[in-house]
């Protein structure tokens, strides 16, 4: 991205308002990362800035890259009282895609001697990849109950414990979900997919804590150097994908009727205070509950594997974050709190210390923010720093540095698996090409991204993790 006309705001760079932009764009990254961002990030962020009812600024996270409509790593808040909109494109197809981190209570060295058996058992227990199906089949009434109850529904059906719910955003259940706003196609698409991981950049990892960066927060989070932890990254599966598809189409067709001029059809949106807007919000919240229930079921399956192979382990949920969302949050605007519809597309909510939504034992240090890596590279646990910066948001991953197309030209899946095995990182996947597309070298250097998030005052580093076992779809 050309930075010559950007304004240096100390911890961020500003693209000033021009043309139809209603607000400026704030890029929360150092100059080197901003220069490396695709020009499409700029174009897409400036397009978002033209949408009705947008408040203060479009915020761009340090891992931002070219998305569709919104850039991946884009954050924008809309005020319903000012004609604000909700955008299906601003949430995306994988509604409430997210990551959860499980503490295991055992040391990585205790797992090292059985890592191959553990990898094989996790790969056998977790349905992953194209065409995989889960063992849970929900009849329509049960499906609607799941879409209303989220992880709380899952716990009620024996997947996990009530204590888990306190460590999930929205306490495991997104309120005001409307299963009636979810199409039959979306429900049909989910029929076989409860408790499945998916493919692409979704994964399950067993990681080793290799560095503690902030002792106070690490102690509050229960992280010690040398511990084994588990990360699960996936979303709302076919149901969320279909809801995104359905409402994107409906919003594109309806936009002109609402007097909304879309600079890019992918930014399809509807007024929050409209029938279509309310319907999408109800369906999107149902998909959020589907994602929360799905990760809860996957965690239950992981616990079963550990109970068999690592009986000393006790898998406790550190936290579950979603990074494709639209949530109603109170934020201070012009000195007074206002309910805003905050879209985070490839960005993580990162409440700072003292936020009342956080569990008591985490409140003093801020919300855990889980930054997923890419098989061979580190992942990070951060802690939210701010009540107001970028609407309390942070990055979500390393961000791709090259396309899947280019990655497949450069790497072969089987060679990558062998190379990583030499570094004692065990990959289990049904798809060599899928592994090649997700090659660690296809991602940005994650250390630079989290350093930028910390320097920008979004979230501070707590611990660095390195993978031991990776199950990919």
């Amino acid at each position: 991205m050309n930075t010559s006309d950007l304004i240096d705001r100390d911890t961020s760079w500003e693209i000033p308002r021009t043309g139809a932009m209603r607000v400026p764009v704030q890029l929360h990254a150092g100059e080197a990362l901003v220069r490396d961002m695709d020009d499409k990030v700029r174009e897409q962020a400036c397009n978002v800035a033209t949408l009705p009812g947008i408040v203060e600024a479009v915020h761009v996270m340090p891992d931002a890259h070219w998305g569709y409509g919104f850039p991946i790593g884009g954050v924008a808040a809309f005020d319903p009282a000012a004609g604000g909109v909700v955008s299906a494109g601003g949430v995306g197809f994988d509604i409430s895609c997210g990551v959860r981190c499980l503490l295991t209570g055992v040391r990585a060295e205790d797992i090292a001697s059985i890592d191959a058996r553990l990898a094989d058992a996790l790969f056998a227990a977790i349905p992953a990849g194209v065409g995989s199906t889960g063992s849970l089949r929900l009849r329509e009434g049960e499906l609607d109950a799941m879409l209303t109850g989220g992880a709380r529904w899952a716990v009620g059906h024996g997947f996990g414990t009530p204590a888990d719910l306190e460590r999930i955003e929205e306490h495991g259940q997104m309120l005001h979900a409307k299963p009636s706003a979810v199409s039959e196609r979306a429900k049909r698409r989910q029929r076989d997919e409860m408790g499945t991981l998916g493919s692409g950049n979704h994964y399950l990892e067993v990681d080793r804590v290799v560095e503690v960066c902030a002792e106070d927060a690490a102690a509050a989070f229960g992280l010690r150097r040398g511990d084994a932890v588990v990360l699960i990254h996936c979303g709302s599966r076919g149901l969320g994908h279909q809801i995104g598809t359905d409402y994107l189409r409906d919003m594109v067709v309806a936009a002109a009727g609402y007097g909304i001029k879309l600079p890019d059809r992918e930014l399809a949106c509807a007024p929050i205070d409209s029938e279509l807007g309310r319907s999408y919000l109800g369906a999107m919240r149902a998909a959020t509950n589907c994602a929360l229930a799905n990760r809860q079921i996957l965690m239950h399956l992981v616990r079963g594997v550990f109970a068999d192979l690592v009986p000393a382990a006790h898998l406790a949920l550190l936290f579950d974050v979603s990074h494709n969302t639209c949530k109603v949050e109170d934020h201070v605007v012009d000195g007074a709190p206002r309910p805003l519809y905050v879209h985070r597309k490839g960005a993580t909510r990162a409440f700072g210390p003292g936020h009342p939504e956080l569990p008591q034992e985490l409140r003093a240090v801020g919300q855990p923010v889980i930054i997923g890596g890419s098989m061979g590279t580190a992942s990070y646990i951060l802690a939210g720093m701010s009540a107001d910066r970028a609407w309390s948001s942070a990055c979500h991953g390393a961000g791709r540095a090259m396309s899947r197309h280019e990655a497949v030209r450069r790497w072969r899946g089987r060679e990558l698996v062998a190379e990583l095995a030499n570094r004692r990182i065990l990959i289990r996947s049904p798809s060599p090409r899928g592994v090649a597309e997700e090659a660690p070298g296809a991602y940005k250097e994650i250390g630079a991204v989290v350093d930028a998030a910390e320097a920008a005052g979004l979230a501070r580093k707590v611990a660095r993790l390195e993978p031991m076992i990776v199950v990919k779809g």
Partner: protein, 135 residues
Amino acid sequence: MFEHFAHGADIGIRGRSETLDRAFAEAGRALTAVMTDPDRVRATTAVPIHCSAPDDELLLVEWLNTLIYEMATRHMVFGRFEVRIADHGLVATAWGEPVDVGRHQPAVEPKGATMTALRVAHESGAWLAQTVLDV
């Protein structure tokens, strides 16, 4: 013919042919090629497809999303397509078989067809049908 083109996080797909019908069919093959080689897919089952949209570009999105839905819910991959388009309505047959992980070694699953880089046009004597898939 079909091809893929680069997108930051996802995959662009493009079908080209002398007719609009064939360009859409080639875009279908490009969709399958995101998962597996369409020439490796056996045509054991025929699935009828119908869809419509306000214009041909939205029809391409609708066509691809219908294929994604049918493949996901039937646990199939499609390798061959016959398409007829008239007045922004589409009637097609997709031939394919159940996913065989060992033989197809499917890579990434498409979540949906986006409207990014969406283009249906007649240029240089051929029809072009392209968009970016979210995977």
